[in-house]
Amino acid sequence: MKFKVNNNEVYASTGGRPFDKNKPLIIFVHGSGLTHMTWVLQTRYFAFHGYSVLAVDMPGHGLSGGESLKSIEDMADWVSDVIDAVEYKEASLVGHSQGCLVTVECTARNPEKIKTLSLMGGAGAIPMNPELLALAENNDPKAVELMMDWAHGPAGHFGGHPVPGLYHINTGSMLAKTRTIKNTLGVDFRACDNYKNGFEAAKKIKVPTLSILATDDKMCPVKEGKKLANLIDGSQIDIIDNCGHMMLLEEADRVLNVLKKFITTNYPAN
């Protein structure tokens, strides 16, 4: 569905169901340069099982208008604004990669609004390789190729997509090329590189938190994810073997099962 935040049009997938304000809200926040489509194997399930879902395209990404936001802090405030814009008082947040930085910061800033936090491939900081950052800011498609290489584990490189017939790396590349690389990936990478408040923000979080990590994640290795999770009181950790950073697609069923148990327990549908 489309709605406005700060006078800019926002697109968010509702998981294939009409948006229903009477159901608890889950907001899914994508990673650097990507779109709402990365969440398709989680969002449809929740949308058909008692929740209202918004898998947002961040400003300037996917089908959303406006320009990409330049800092993680701005993105965090924007997610809070999304909750206001759809006239909710609270929501459950799910983030992937950069989306983890955004949702951690948003949860720390809005303790009254955020009821649960789910992090996939998260870390307290995501410092960028300077060469990769330069490639993205110079609009070089090689930045996408490198990201897709590093972001995928064995399932991505060999194959075995949970949806028959889909090929991970090429699908991910297309998502990252939906808009101009320097205006999405370039801006996002710079925002990640600049963000230094992740560990301090984590210490403030008091809501139930889940971290899903993957043993073959080169972008946000398990030890970095654990470092973040250990700063959050009562945080749960689930580690997936033989899987890369794109666990929400590479091991979509496993991720959905863990997420389903966590959210339905801590933020049950009506």
Partner: protein, 442 residues
């Protein structure tokens, strides 16, 4: 993300993907070879799991008409080789074309189609699709501007064989892709003759790539199969031409394929709707057979092309041959375009005219022994046929002429036998062709 070990992507390359893409042994009991999942259906964990699979909330297999694990390996492998986001395998190349068209079009729609096609494909567009309310304007493959002029308000796509069967005329794919995209419609290319080893049409602007896998991809003349590969670049939401892609679909509780699946939307719709309703599924055994062929694709294609160029040279110098059409020939009208689009080889399909016309052609074909006279191409073995009396025999005289066929034309699919043996076999055929009456009286 601070890994500094090299700044070149380490994603697998073509030959490695030919052997490995789409499959992980540790998820299949350690079986090094892809298992043949000879089953119709798959257990659900519980009622909720079943409902989620049927509603596309989860990925997975339900029923082998829709998908099958062995077939899925083939689909991912071909998608990876083509640079596509997704693929859908079918029971034959013709069913792949039909499924692609029916995923794209509705009654009242129109397509612009290259006139130089396999005869069965011509009949599909000319005679069968009109029964479904889908009309076609044919344009000669070299008439690039003609493709633009033929586009109407209700045109939903452009279709063609990259190198036309059997005349070897080449579509200017990059320019025709631009024409399609300026009109807000996709370009669909049948690249059976090339395989992704010779050309990846998606890199040149194609949006949907179709193969008869029966041919060079499988390569051994054993199994029928087809595939539709999606490039993932086409924006279905850019205009209102594709409501079945962009609007809520009643068949899946209001799902919009384009919004939910983006770069894989076409494949998702083709499978969820097309395989569900038409059901031209590929058998797991045939998928496995095709996978065996693909493992050696680059090795075979090199040899096919090497032999083809030697046969071109031989035919060009032969007294019984009136003309030779192959993109490797410098005076072929599309030679420069072929060098651009087909840098790894110009393929192993040769069309040539035999002196003496139809009677000589029949005598030639009746007297070759090593070359097989049959209605197929892309076998490891050398194949010959006289198109006007076989593959394209259902066309009337005018359609034959428009498709660039003549009665003296022999279609040759060069195999990977020893080249001297193929030439010696052809000498026997040509010798007989020079005495057609004597041969026919034998």
């Amino acid at each position: 993300m601070s890994d500094k070990k090299g700044m070149d992507p380490k994603t697998y390359k073509f030959d490695t993907l030919s052997l490995h893409a789409g499959y992980q042994p540790h998820k299949n009991a350690g079986s090094r070879q892809v298992p043949i999942y000879q089953t119709t259906s798959y257990l659900f964990d519980d009622v909720d799991h079943a409902a989620a699979l049927f509603n596309l909330e989860r990925g997975g297999h339900i029923y082998s008409r829709i998908s099958n694990p062995t077939v899925a390996v083939l689909e991912e492998r071909v998608a990876s080789l083509e640079g596509g986001t997704a693929a859908l395998a079918t029971s034959s190349g013709m069913s792949a074309i039909f499924l692609a068209v029916m995923t794209l079009c509705e009654a009242g729609d129109h397509l612009v189609v290259s006139s130089q096609l396999y005869g069965g494909t011509v009949n599909l567009f000319r005679l069968t699709l009109p029964k479904f309310g889908i009309k076609t304007t044919f344009v000669k493959p070299r008439d690039t501007e003609g493709f633009k002029k033929a586009i109407q308000k209700n045109t939903k796509g452009i279709f063609g064989e990259l190198v036309g069967n059997p005349g070897n005329e080449i579509m200017n794919m990059p320019e025709i892709a631009n024409i399609a995209h300026e009109a807000g419609i996709p370009l669909m290319v049948d690249a059976t003759y090339q395989t992704p080893y010779l050309c990846k049409p998606i890199e040149h602007g194609a949006d949907i790539v179709i193969h008869s896998l029966t041919k060079w991809m499988a390569g051994h003349g054993s199994s029928m199969a087809g595939i539709v590969v999606e490039g993932g670049k086409f924006d279905w939401m850019q205009n209102d031409k594709f409501p079945t892609m962009t609007q809520p679909y009643e068949g899946y509780h209001g799902l919009s394929f384009a919004e939910e699946f983006g770069p894989t939307a076409f494949t998702m719709k083709a499978r969820a709707e097309g395989m569900r309703d038409f059901g031209p599924c590929l058998s797991p055994q045939n998928a496995w057979n095709v996978l065996q062929g693909i493992e050696t694709l680059s090795v075979r294609m090199k040899k096919h092309c090497e032999n083809a160029e030697k046969m071109v040279e031989y035919l060009l110098g032969h007294e019984s041959v009136a003309w030779v059409s192959h993109p490797s020939v410098p005076d072929h009208p599309d030679h420069d375009l072929a060098n651009k689009l087909l840098p790894n080889g110009k393929g192993s399909m040769i069309a040539f005219g035999i002196k003496g016309g139809k009677e000589a052609g029949e005598a030639f074909i009746n007297n070759v022994k090593l070359a097989s006279h049959l209605a197929n191409v892309g076998d490891t073995r050398t194949l010959v046929i006289h198109p006007a009396s076989a593959t394209h025999s259902q066309m009337d005289e005018a359609t034959l002429k428009f498709a660039g066929l003549s009665h003296d034309m022999i279609r040759l699919s060069v195999g990977i036998e020893d080249i001297d043996d193929i030439k010696n076999d052809f000498e026997n055929g040509f010798r007989a062709a020079r005495k057609p009456r004597l041969v026919s009286n034998q």
